[in-house]
Amino acid sequence: MELKFTLNGEKRQIDIEPRKLLIDVLRDDFGLTSVHSGCDTAMCGACTVLVDGKPVKSCNLLAMQVQDSEVQTLEGLFNEHRMKILKKSFLKNHGLQCGFCTSGMLISSFYLLKKGRESDDDEIREAIEGNICRCTGYVSIVKSIREAADILNKTSLEELEMKGEER
């Protein structure tokens, strides 16, 4: 069955079995290996991607459900300024150890920062409630997101864009 959607900014068309899950289309058919299969039970959030701008669990969606929608994976957010700041902050604050949950964590926190620039720790914890990390105990992840949010709150978007050009 034909699936048409926008993937990381490009229009895509693919013939798939309707029972195929979104995660399998993204990984197997498009080679987007930032999308991790962790628990396969819609618990861990390692497979989180953005559909029409909102985080969802790609292991818990039929690929056909994103017909005519826009899907973004971590690969497609590479040039986003918020994502660059988040990644730096995760590195600096030890927001990851083994790194398996990180792509999902980054996407959930990217959505949080994009939604509203003020973020307190409760909001941050609620935003990553659907992402499980078995290494860090979350404290350093929350700290990473907190710091990225603070940087974004102090800097105007125009400034960020200029800095982004330089990088």
């Binding site: 069955m1 079995e17 309707p18 029972r19 195929k20 899950l21 995660i23 399998d24 197997d28 299969s37 396969d40 039970t41 819609a42 618990m43 959030g45 989180t48 559909v51 909102k54 985080p55 969802v56 669990k57 292991c59 818990n60 969606l61 039929l62 056909m64 459900q65 017909q67 005519d68 959930s108 959505y111 609620e126 935003a127 409630e129 659907g130």
Partner: protein, 297 residues
């Protein structure tokens, strides 16, 4: 590759009429796919399989929310995440906001729908006790007819409800609240991501002396279906609840076969959890109700 559902025929109608035609014409096991957040795990593990899945995500007209003087109107495809982030709902129906925010996590809420949460009718679903406590009306439509079902008549038991084999849930209507009414939903979550042990939805109206003039209390999660606790409601009438909320295990007139008992905790503990959940929900609804009186005075 991990789990993959068993094969099915997939249909994606773009209008409601087209979907109703399919429901009436297709034979075999037919299932509506909305957000799929409860259905897809069942398909993946092959606990459930269907001949046909009718994906209604392409029917734009089913995704709406309207707030007006008659009440609140939800299309079945309105996402749980949209409810959780909607300030009008939070202001007017805090219990609906609280139920939406307690559904799983952000990602699941972004896909999950109000219609799906109601029609799945898992005892642990969060929206059913709330719509029962608010006297909601659910509209079901088939190719032949449309009918309105009151929430007390809608839920039959685990995964069972009034939706007929050729019907689609097309709307949820929540009547406007009386003045000086407070609502609340409280859920007692199990450890980590276990199913909740108990949840309670309340709607309390007070008179000018801050005494309860109407009380609706619904218990769910631990029961086969969301159930109004009429003995407790009667007990609350004419009372000022500023002090302790007078609810004890003796008031809980639930028969043994009405419990949907997940055996990870002892029964005594479950009863304690239930009383705690009921009290918290009633207390919070009462506080919201008297706020109206105090502000008006």
């Amino acid at each position: 590759m991990g789990f993959t559902p068993a094969s099915f025929e997939y249909r994606r109608p773009s209008t409601l009429n087209e979907a109703l035609e399919l429901m009436s014409d297709l034979s075999g096991d037919v299932r509506i796919l909305a957000g799929g957040q409860s259905l897809i795990p069942l398909l993946k593990t092959r606990i459930a399989s269907y001949d046909y899945l009718i994906d209604i995500n392409g029917i734009r007209s089913l995704n709406y929310y309207v707030h007006d003087s008659d009440g609140d109107f939800y299309g079945p495809l309105y996402r749980i995440g949209s409810i959780a982030n909607n300030d009008v709902i939070k202001e007017n129906f805090p219990s609906i906001n609280e139920a939406a925010r307690s559904v799983a996590d952000t990602q699941i809420r972004n896909m999950g729908t109000i219609g799906g949460n109601i029609s799945h009718s898992d005892p642990g679903n969060d929206i059913p006790p709330v719509i029962l406590s608010l006297d909601a009306v659910i509209t079901l439509r088939s190719k032949k007819q449309e009918r309105r079902v009151h929430s007390p008549d809608f839920f039959y038991g685990p995964y069972e409800n009034a939706i007929g084999p050729d019907e689609i849930l097309v709307g949820i209507e929540i009547p406007r609240l009386k003045a000086n009414t407070g609502t609340s939903f409280v859920k007692f979550r199990g450890p980590a991501r276990e199913f909740s042990l108990s949840s309670a939805a309340s709607r309390i109206t007070v008179d000018g002396d801050l005494r309860v003039s109407n009380a609706v209390v619904v218990l769910a999660s631990c029961l086969m279906k969301p159930t109004r606790l009429e003995e407790i409601e009667t007990e609350l009438m004419d009372r000022n609840l500023s002090g302790d909320v007078p609810v004890s295990a003796n008031d809980l007139k639930v028969k043994e076969d009405e419990f949907f008992y997940r055996s990870e905790v002892s029964f005594d503990y479950l009863i304690k959890v239930i009383i705690h959940t009921l009290k918290s929900s009633i207390r919070s609804a009462y506080r919201r109700a008297i706020k109206g009186v105090n502000n008006g005075a």
